[in-house]
């Protein structure tokens, strides 16, 4: 240490003894910009023609909610497929913050492929993630969603939702006189009918392990709750009670289902124990209690009740049965769902005679209206808490639309056939 430095340190110690007096500069805002990312067409090492291009699947995933801006290949200066071929300077020039490259090859197993990919941070000039996904050739799209999830998680810091599914009810139409319980990817692709009936189907709800769906069916002439396994379509009806059996909603532990029964004379919230096949009454009021939803920590159930005269949202503690009113603004607040962090709820809120999707912070009680369309209903939140999907109208047609929780990006769920209602977002798996 030279004398000058020693002097400086002494000087600092004498005159500026307190570290807490260190200058703090606040940087607020910044540019909330879409993150620019380049996804290079992956090297196709299979001796068969390519039908699905994985970089296109990833591009469409990442651009779904406006968070990413994906550079099209025609604007790229090179198409690297290995780390050695990456020149950071080129990608910086193109304004890309991140870069993804990869290749696709067969494994030793018949028809199984491996997609290996690398994510680069262009600004820091380093690899931030290297990974591979395996699967049958026929599931290339699904493998693309998995890579999108990894990219999203690595860059946004929260889980990606591109591998999750949406369950919904498809109403009868000219081409199909039946109600269909459908599941599809969140972009509307790979849709599949799980159950079909000429009588109404309602209220799909996912099991937390994503293996089963519960729903209401009128196939027996009266409403009854069924659960159905996705793997083998095995169905089981819950114990049927007199009157209404509706609005099933799976508990986070997977062992119970909350629902609405009217066997006590009017609709109340009940809990069904899937092991014992018994119903337990949770609320008991002469008003209508309906549309239950479990809190993420399992302690409470959110529900709609008209006990105060108009539909409002309440929370009941499943152990103590104590009830707390949550919404006070306006004369219609219904169909509530907890946000995955448990700190807020989303619901249908009526303002000036128009139904909107709104969110409320449970600590401050502050309401924020998210949508500006007219007949919005049945909101469901993505399992990472970032996006709300809801049913709405496009003219006479029932469609599903979505909005990010920050209210900034709206979208209509594309390529859905038929008329979709009552969307339910699956949990996150792996």
């Amino acid at each position: 240490m030279n004398f000058k430095k020693l002097f400086l340190i002494t000087y600092l110690i004498i005159f500026f003894p307190s570290v807490s007096s260190q200058l703090r500069i606040e940087i607020k805002g910044g540019v909330e910009e879409s993150i620019s990312i380049a996804v290079v067409p992956m090297q196709w090492n299979l001796e068969i023609p390519q039908e699905i291009f994985i970089h296109e699947v990833i591009k469409s995933d990442l651009e779904s909610f406006g968070e990413f801006n994906v550079l099209p290949p025609r604007n790229m200066l090179s198409l690297p497929t290995t780390k050695e071929e990456v020149f950071y300077k080129d990608w910086r020039l193109l304004g890309s913050d991140y870069l993804v490259i990869g290749n696709i090859e067969f494994t030793e197993i018949d028809q199984e492929i491996r997609v290996s990919y690398t994510i680069f941070d262009v600004v820091k000039e380093r690899v931030i993630h290297r990974g591979s996904v395996l699967g049958p050739l026929s599931t290339l799209r699904k493998m693309g969603h998995k890579i999108s999830d990894k990219i999203y998680a690595r860059i946004q810091g929260i889980p990606g939702i591109f591998s999750t599914k949406i369950a919904y009810i498809d109403k009868p139409s000219k081409s199909d006189p039946n109600y269909n319980l459908m599941i599809s990817d969140i972009d509307g692709n790979d849709s599949l009918s799980l159950f079909s009936s000429p009588q109404p189907l309602m209220s799909p709800s996912w099991s937390p392990d994503m293996q089963s769906i519960s729903y209401v069916s009128f196939e027996e002439g009266t409403s009854r709750i069924f659960i159905q396994k996705l793997s083998n379509a095995e169905r089981r009806g819950l114990k049927l009670e007199k009157g209404i059996n509706s609005s099933p909603n799976w508990a986070p532990d997977g062992k119970k289902i909350s629902a609405v029964l009217s066997k006590s004379g009017n609709p109340d919230i009940f809990i069904y124990d899937l092991e014992l096949s018994t119903w337990l009454q949770v609320t008991n009021h002469f008003g209508i209690d309906t549309e239950p939803d479990w809190s993420p920590n399992s302690r409470n159930i959110l529900f709609t009740s008209n006990r105060s005269g108009s539909p409002q949202l309440y929370e009941v503690n499943t152990r103590t049965k104590r009830i707390k009113r949550l919404t006070f603004e306006g004369t219609y607040n219904a169909r509530g769902r907890y946000l995955p962090n448990g700190k807020g709820i989303i619901f249908v809120h009526r303002q000036n005679g128009v139904f909107h999707i709104a969110t409320q912070n449970l600590r401050t009680g502050k309401i924020r209206i998210l949508t500006d369309t007219r007949l919005d209903e049945s909101p469901t939140v993505s399992p990472n808490g970032n996006v709300v999907l809801y049913a709405t109208k496009d003219g006479d047609k029932d469609i599903l639309a979505g909005i990010t929780l920050d209210g900034k990006t709206k979208f209509v769920m594309p390529s859905l056939k038929g008329e979709a209602r009552e969307p339910s977002w699956s949990p996150l798996i792996d």
């Binding site: 600092l12 500069i25 606040e26 940087i27 910044g30 540019v31 600004v123 820091k124 946004q156 920050d406």
Partner: protein, 86 residues
């Protein structure tokens, strides 16, 4: 001035929790060049922390930092940047 240069280079992720806060300690030399930067208080969201860090890396060197040596030593040799979305 420092604020402006960092803010202009700060591209933060969209659609994130608005209450995040990252504190980064900066070591400068009198020419304005950034010697080192390190996260001293993470927001808990890695992406948010990294976006703040990237902003500093993009700045590389602060322009227009002309001041007396004593003032520089007092305040700018080592200081903290606090990043918040709102």
């Amino acid at each position: 001035m420092i604020q402006r240069q960092v803010r202009e280079n700060w591209k933060r992720p969209k659609n994130i929790n608005q209450s995040l806060k990252t504190e980064i300690q900066i070591n400068l030399v009198p020419t304005g060049e950034i010697l080192s930067a390190s996260v001293i208080k993470s927001s808990g969201n890695k992406a948010f922390d990294e976006s703040a860090m990237s902003a500093i890396l993009k700045v590389k060197s602060f322009e227009g930092l002309t001041m007396q040596m004593q003032l520089f030593d007092q305040h700018f040799r080592k200081f903290t940047l606090v990043f918040t979305p709102e």
